[in-house]
Every structure is written in C-alpha cells, then in structure tokens.
C-alpha cells in the first residue's frame, strides 16, 4: 500500500507573506495576485503542482483552470519539479547564430535529456528559453539564476563536470550585471521536496 502524504497548504504557515501579497491589490483586483503567489510557490518548491494550483485558486476565489492558464503561459513556472541545475539555453536569434543549437545538442548528448526533461536523479533539467538579453555575449546558458556567457563546447564541458561534482562555478559575466536580483532563488537544499504528483 502506498502511503499518501497529505500535502500541507503552502500558505498556511506563510500568512504574513500571503497578506503582504494580497495587500498589494485592491479587493476587486484580487485575482492579480495570481502571479506573485505562483512565483512564491515556484521559488520555494521548484515547481507548482496541481495541489498548489487548487490552493491558489481557492485563495483568490477563481477557478483552478484560470490559474493553470496563467501558469502555463510562463516558462518560469513548472508543473513538475525541476532538477538541481536548471539549464536554460537561449535559443533566440543571436545565440542561435552563435551556436546555441550546438550547445543544446552537446548538453543533450551529455545528459541524455531533451528539451523540457529532468533526469531521474533530479540533477539536471534542460529547457530552451527565449532571449536572455545578453546577445553581445552569445551563446548564453543560464543555470538557475546564474549567467554563463560565450559558452562554447569546452566551457560547457567544464560546467557540466562542475555541476556533476555538485559545485556551482562563479558566473561568467563580461559586462556589468549582477546575479543578485530581487527575486533570487532560495539556496538549494540537498533534498528536494517533490510534492504530491512528482
């Protein structure tokens, strides 16, 4: 028999966060809080599973289908847990011309994954994304929230090896820019909770 663990409501212990988010919007615009709530869950759990979709819908008094509709529009939100290293390969024009397809092929071959997949160990997820805004230093690979620029084959190999050792190399940035944005991801934990349906 499979023991099903009841998923605790995400915002039950985060009433202050919830109130802060809801407080940003007037009552008639309560539904607007769908984005920050989704992001809160995604940041914490590295996924937004169906139970969370229903929870957010209930908080906002809208249908779960609507939450799903918003969520699926953005590639930032994931229905299933993403790996410890989320490899996001820019595939828009500049990177594409500079060889992002080759980078994708190389990563794909190395990891045995294709676009949108996560490996069984939960180590890597790979995803083709649209422009990362660093066209002058194409091709760009974004790993979680860290930018690696001009990623050729050898650099890519070095990176993957580092990740396999569990390291997170310093960002390779040529110009200004920081990786300490307002919405920096929470530090990785060793065990990743996968929630209900993963």
């Amino acid at each position: 028999m499979v023991e099903l663990e009841t998923l605790k409501p995400f915002f039950a212990e985060r009433q202050d966060v919830l109130n802060e988010i809801l407080g940003r919007y007037p009552d008639y615009g309560r539904r607007s809080a769908v984005m920050p709530l989704l992001w809160e869950v995604q940041r914490e759990e590295r996924q937004v599973n169906e139970a969370r979709i229903h929870e957010i819908a209930e908080i906002l008094g809208i249908q779960p289908t609507e939450v799903k509709g918003v969520m699926s529009f953005y590639s930032t939100y994931h229905e299933h847990a993403i790996g410890k290293y989320h490899l996001q390969i820019c595939s828009t024009l500049a990177c594409s011309l500079a060889g992002s397809d080759e980078m994708y092929d190389f990563i794909s071959e190395e990891t045995g994954l294709v676009n949108g997949e996560t490996d069984r160990q939960g180590l890597f997820s790979i995803q083709k994304v649209e422009c990362l805004g660093s066209c002058t230093t194409a091709p760009v690979l974004q790993v979680n929230d860290t930018y690696y620029e001009r990623v050729g084959k050898s650099r890519c190999q070095t990176l993957l090896e580092a990740f396999r050792r569990g390291e997170m190399p310093e960002p390779w940035r040529e110009r200004y820019g920081d990786n300490e944005g307002a919405e920096k991801a929470k530090p990785l934990q060793n065990t990743i909770k996968t929630g209900g349906n993963a």
């Binding site: 979709i53 699926s72 529009f73």
Partner: protein
C-alpha cells in the same frame, strides 16, 4: 451616425460596431471569434477592412478635402478588425478593396497553417465556419511546406464533449463563453504561442451549460459526444422546435437522420433562450431513439400483452367505456402534453361525460401569475428575488438572471438580426451580484452568484415570506426595501413555494406590496398552457391522486407511471379499464389492459405555453416512432371506434377550437412565439406532505429518462441521493455507492453523493413526474447496497 460601407450609406445608432455596419449594409466580412451575445475581442483578425473617418479641426469644423470639397477621409494606417472598431460619424468602411482582400486572405492562410484539414472525417464538415470561409476567402492552395503541429485528436473534456486539439483555431469563443454567459470559468488557454491549447483542470467541465460551446465552435474542435460520427450535416433533417424538457420554451433544432434523433442544438429565440440551452435539454434526447420503445398498440389477452391493430385496441376500449356511467372514467395527461393534446383530452372527457380529468405533476397553487414577468423583464431587472432552485427547475431562468447581473440590456436587433459584435459587452465584466437574493431549503447553484442567499429549513417557506413581508428581520427588511426601490423587480417562485397555497399567496402579496413582477416556474413544459386551458378536474375530489385512490373506475393515463408506488399499483388492479399511453413499458403498463404507443416530445406537433405565457410551436422531427400517436391521435382512433367525430381529433381540429377561445391562430405563430394574457385556473385537490426525512428536488436532467440517456447517465453518475457527509457516515453510506431504497412507496435506485451543500438531517433526491417536488419519507431500513464504491486504500 452616418456611415458608408462601400457604396451603401447607413444611419446607425452610436456604439454600433463596424462589423455590424458592414452586415447591415448587406456586405460580408469573414469572422470566427465574434459571437452574438458575447464580447468582441478581435482575436481571429479575419474581419479586417480598410477603415477611415473624417477629422475635425480645432474649431469643430471638418477638415476638408480641397479637391472634392467634401470632408477629407483619413484612413487608419492598417486594415482594422471591424469587430472591435466602433463606428464614428462619417466613417468609411471598405470591404471590397484589394488591401482588404489581401489582408483577409492572409489571415485565412494563417488560420489554416496548423489546421489538419480533415474535413472528410470531421463532424462539422458541411456546417463549418472555417470551411465556408476558406471557400469564400481562402486562396485554394497552401504554401505551407512544413510539418503541421500535431496534438490530441480525441480529448474527452467531459463525458459529453470531445475536443480535437488539432482543429482548434484559438478563436477563444468557448473560453469567453464560460466566463461571460454561465459565469463558470472552467476552460482556459493553456501554454502559449504555437503550443496553445484549450484545457481544464477541473474534471468534466462542471457547468450546467457546457454543451453550448459545441454550437459556437467555428470549427470541429468541440463536438457533442452523443452525436459524434453519427452523420454528416447535410444528411440531417433540421427541425426547429421548442424544447419540452422544462417550462422555458427554449428553441431547439432537432437533427434527425434515418428516423433517429442524433443531436439537439440550440436555436435562436431572442426573447427566450437567445442562443443557449442547458445540458439536460441538449444531451437528454437519447431515450427517444431507445430500441425498447413501444411501437404498436398492445392488448392484454389471457393475461399477456399482445400487439394488435389500433382498430382492435380502440374497439376494446370503446366497448369498456360504454359500460361506464358518468364521472367514472379518469383521464390524466403529463404536464408536458401540448395544448392540442389538452383540448383533445377535454373534448373526450366532455363526450364521455366525466369530470375526472387532470394534468400532472402540478402544484397546489396556480402557475399563472397576475403580473407575469417575461424573460426580458428578468434580464433587465434591478432586483431579483429567487425562491426556487431555478437552475434545476428552468435552467434558462438561471442564464437570464446572469444577464441581469451584467447589467447590459438585450441588444436591439439590426437588419441582419442579433448584432455580431455588441461593444457594450466586455470580458470579465463586473457582476452586480447585490441585486440577486436567493432562498432555498439547501444550497443551490445560483447562490454562488448572489450577494444575498439564505438556506432555510425545509418546509418553512411561509415563515420566510412572512419575515420579508413584515420586514421583521434585517435581511427580510433589506430585501423588501431593495425590491420596492428597484425600478424593475422580479420575484421568481419555484416548486417549493408553489407547492403550498399559503406560501404562494404570501409571495403574491409580497409582489403586490413591492410592485415586483412574478415569474412562476411551472412543473413541466406546458404546465401554464394546460392550466390556462382548464385541463383540470371538475371538482377537487376528481384530482389525479384521487383518481388513483379510487374515485375512477377506469383510467386513461398518458405519460405517467403511477404504479411505481406499490400501494397505488394495488388500487389500479381493481380498475375495470386501464389504458396507458406511453413511450416505454413500465410498472403501469404491466397492469394495463391496453397499452398505446406515444410520441416523444420531439415527434409531436402542437403548441406549448412557456412560463411567460408565450405560445410556442412544437414541430415534429422525422423520427421512426412506429404507430405512435400523440393524444389527439388517440382521440381520433377512439372516435372512429365510437363512430363519433370528436373535437380535437387532430392538431388542426384542436387548433380550430383554440382559435375561437384564444383568438390566436396557433398554426401561424411567429418563430419567437406570442405572449397572450391568461387567467389562473382553479387548481385544487392536491395535498402535499408536510413532513418527511427526504426532499424530492427538481432536476435539470429528466430523472425518468436518465437510464436511457447513456451519456448523461455517465456524466451525472445516475440519479443521486445527496446528503450531508455526516449523515452519510451515520447511515453507513459512502460516495458512489449505488443503493435501492423505498421512498414514499416508490422503489428508487440512487447513487450516493455526500455534499456539504445539503443541510444535516435532510436527504435530497430528484423528483419524478409521478413523485413531484416535496417532502417524502425515505425508509432508511430499506436501503440495499447494489454496488459498493471502490475503496481507495
């Protein structure tokens, strides 16, 4: 406002959309996303046209064109989507220019890029907007050399609706429909860009009006599962008729092929159902094509029913009738019998000198209001008080109330009909929920949309109404004030009120005191008409329940199955003659001397009067019913056996009679019907239970036919016994158990549905025509579990 479309000059009301101007001028532009009664959003970009308008100088004068001396037309830099463009004074719309044609052709090509073009196997083929428009505006060949997008072809959105994701062109009609019309946002776009598809997280589209999306889908993406792969559009006989499923008189189109009904679609009646029908009406037609229909008359010979000719059957009946003295014969019709059938039954009763004639189910008080509200009154009301389970009794009332919540009056019809793009409608309009108050003995669906709702203890309608009339509670006072203050107020009364003469009287008093109009929800499709035609017993002792318990020596029943009650069945055995006119063999036909084949509501010709008092024609679809006749046909056959030309022996003869009394020619009714005033009949002789542990409630899905409506059965799980989870636990019942139980003498088979919306200590089960809405005793000791739900470990 003066507008010029190509060469036609028009004078239209401000606020009209440019697309409507084009159609009003008699020209055409293609469109997929606009839909009557829904907001225009300009999603498909098909209705592009070159549009221009004159400009004003600062001093308010027109900027003139020096060459012509006329106001100069400034054209928009690009072709405009005419559906989202409002007309302006002096606007010029050009739908014939090469720029327009090229733009429309380009959009057409774009729509077809990912469309599978599987028209030969598509159910929509032949009635498909995309197909038609591709012929009219497409280029005829494809330049798209790449692989098309592939996606799921047979996705069951629910038991009733199948989605083909490849065919979808993302017009968003279905998504908008759910938000704007019934207000249940159960469908949305998922993903984005080229990957977009429509989908839902909820299971099985939880909405009572989901089927309408199959009508409005411009392609074959959303299909009615009951009719999938059953026929091509050009093979169907399309019969416009009126639904006999509830008292709304909704317009439907019956699509039949080779003598079988395959599909019901909504038809347009701007005054009643607009473009919409509920799921019970749309998907509840399968019973009519059931293989076990009675197709010939049958006569009991040596204890067994044997097929006979109509002559033999009616001769037998006439011989028996001749032996009866006055007032010994009872005649009962089901309340969805047509007016013509009512007239026929009355003339037969008159000829046979019996006062025992009745229609059933009916309520203890009249369904004809002194100050009746029409659907349009309801849709434009400023305050609405619903004391009913309106969604289940007459679903259209639910939808029209939601119109009132949006606060947009029904559109004015234009030369080409309903405006295609009504610019007053928007996506996600705020709803004026505070104008709606709902009271019912359990949580009803409409309460989700009402600012004020009240669940009162079953059977306390009188007390609730007194509280409002006397303004003795805060809520009652507020409600009475809002009804009085509103310019147009409507009170909707359902079975729970109409079942009690006292409560009805109080509700009428409340209406008088507040100046509100009253909408009374009749029990069945023609409750209003049969009452207004006085198909009622001559005295209270002759009512239908009395006929069953001994006042009649012989009985002719049409569409009713009283023998489900074991006690009544015993009484029926004593009858000298029992004639049953019905669709299927049942408990009563098992006792009958003569069984006659009846027509279903889709095969009848006749007239019904809906709850507004609107006379509407019912037209027969070509369905193979064997030797089935309606009640007028039966009267003719019986008249032949009696050597008498009885009035009401045909629809024509009945209409001749009705023409005299109504001053209305029922064979020449307009499509949208005619409202005529009517007086309340003398309804009497019905007793209602005032105690019981279960409540029979109205049901949108016809519970008597649910077993024969396979798809509806699968979607609803069968007739449900709803009870509070705590009660379910104490009766040792769990969700999805199928039980048989004795309810007020009827053996009912029900599937258990624990629900928080039911008050503790009360059980709800759907009413039957023979066991109408009201309290009843459910024998808890008689519960037998027939199927036990699978337990998840």
């Amino acid at each position: 406002m003066k507008v010029k479309v190509n060469d036609v000059e028009l004078d239209l009301a401000p606020g009209t959309s440019a697309i409507d101007a084009v159609f009003a001028a008699g020209y055409d532009v293609p469109y997929f996303c606009s839909q009557e009664y829904m907001s225009p959003i300009g999603a498909c970009r098909m209705c592009l046209a070159v549009v221009g308008a004159p400009r004003k100088e600062r001093d308010g004068s027109w900027t003139m064109d020096e060459a012509t001396g006329q106001p100069k037309i400034f054209y928009f830099p690009n072709p405009m989507a005419t559906c989202t463009t409002a007309i302006m004074e002096g606007m010029v719309i050009d739908t014939l220019s090469d720029v327009t044609k090229k733009a429309q052709g380009g959009m057409m090509e774009m729509h077809l890029i990912n469309h599978p073009l599987d028209c030969p196997t598509c159910d929509k083929g032949g009635a498909c907007e995309l197909q038609d428009r591709a012929y009219e505006y497409g280029s005829g060949h494809s330049r798209f050399i790449f692989d098309k997008r592939h996606n799921e072809k047979h996705h069951a959105l629910s038991e009733l609706i199948t989605l083909d994701r490849e065919r979808c062109i993302h017009c968003k009609r279905c998504v908008r429909y759910f938000e704007e019309v019934p207000g249940d946002e159960v469908l949305d776009f998922i993903e984005r860009g080229g990957h977009t598809f429509i989908g839902t997280v909820e299971e099985g589209l939880p909405s009572n009006f989901s089927g309408n999306i199959t009508d409005i889908c411009p392609v074959g993406a959303l299909l009615d599962t009951t009719s999938r792969f059953r026929g091509r559009n050009w093979e169907y006989d399309h019969t416009r008729s009126t639904s006999l499923d509830d008292a709304s008189g909704s317009a439907i189109t019956i699509d039949a092929r080779t003598g079988r009904i395959e599909r019901i679609k909504a038809a347009l009646n701007t005054q009643v159902n607009k473009n919409w029908i509920d799921d019970g009406t749309r998907f509840g037609h399968e019973y009519a094509a059931s293989s076990d229909r009675i197709k010939t008359p049958m006569l009991r010979k040596n204890g067994k029913l044997e097929p006979v000719t109509w002559e033999e059957a009616t001769l037998f009946i006439s011989e028996k009738l001749k032996k009866l003295s006055d007032n010994q014969l009872g005649i009962a019709l089901r309340s969805d019998a047509t007016l013509e059938e009512g007239v026929a039954a009355k003339s037969l009763a008159e000829y046979l000198k019996t006062g025992q004639i009745d229609h059933y189910p009916r309520y203890a008080s009249s369904v004809i209001s002194a100050n009746p509200a029409s659907f349009n009154d309801l849709a434009t009301a400023g305050a609405i008080f619903v004391m009913a389970d309106a969604t289940e009794e007459v679903p259209m009332v639910d939808l029209r109330i939601k119109d009132a919540l949006k606060g947009v009056t029904p559109p004015t019809l234009m030369a080409h009909g309903v405006p295609i793009a009504d610019l007053r409608l928007k996506e996600r309009m705020p709803r004026k929920t505070n104008i709606l108050s709902v009271a019912a003995p359990y949580r009803v669906d409409l309460m989700k949309y009402a600012a004020h709702s009240m669940v009162y203890p079953t059977g306390t309608e009188v007390e609730v109404l007194k509280q409002i009339i006397d303004a003795s509670t805060d809520a009652g006072k507020a409600l009475k004030e809002s009804l009085s203050a509103a310019e147009k107020a409507v009170i909707v009364l359902g079975a729970f009120v109409l079942n009690s003469a006292e409560a009805s009287k109080l509700a009428d008093d409340l209406a008088k005191a507040t100046g509100a109009k009253v909408m009374k929800l009749g029990a069945m499709a023609n409750s209003f008409g049969l009452e207004s035609q006085d198909v009622l017993p001559a005295k209270a002792d002759y009512s239908y329940p009395n006929m069953l318990s001994g006042s009649a020596k012989a009985l002719i029943v049409s569409g009713l199955n009283p023998a489900q009650n074991a006690e009544v069945a015993q009484a029926l055995l004593k009858l000298e003659l029992l004639v049953v006119h019905d669709l299927f063999e049942n408990e009563t036909t098992a006792l009958a001397h003569v069984v006659l084949p009846a027509k279903s509501g889709y095969e009848k010709e006749g007239t019904v009067v809906n709850l507004e008092g609107r006379y509407l024609n019912v037209n027969p679809a070509p369905v193979d019913g064997g030797q089935a006749v309606d009640f007028t046909g039966f009267v003719k056959e019986l008249g032949d056996a009696l050597n008498e030309r009885l009035e009401g022996r045909s629809v024509r003869s009945a209409r001749r009679l009705l023409k005299k009394s109504l001053e209305l020619d029922l064979s020449e009714l307009p499509l949208e019907g005619t409202i005529a005033s009517a007086k309340a009949g003398k309804v009497a002789g019905l007793k209602t239970n005032t105690s019981g542990n279960a409540l029979l409630v109205p049901s949108m899905v016809r519970s008597e036919y649910l077993n024969r409506n396979a798809h509806l059965f699968a979607s609803t799980g069968g007739n449900a016994l709803r009870l509070h989870p705590a009660d379910a636990a104490s009766h040792n019942l769990s969700a999805h158990d199928v039980i048989s139980v004795s309810v007020g003498g009827f053996k009912r088979r029900l599937s258990v549905q624990p629900s928080e919306s039911v008050p503790e200590g009360m059980m709800l089960l759907p009413a039957l025509p023979d066991q109408p809405v009201g309290l009843v005793q459910l024998d808890l000791n008689s519960i037998k579990k027939e199927q036990v739900a699978l337990e998840v470990a």
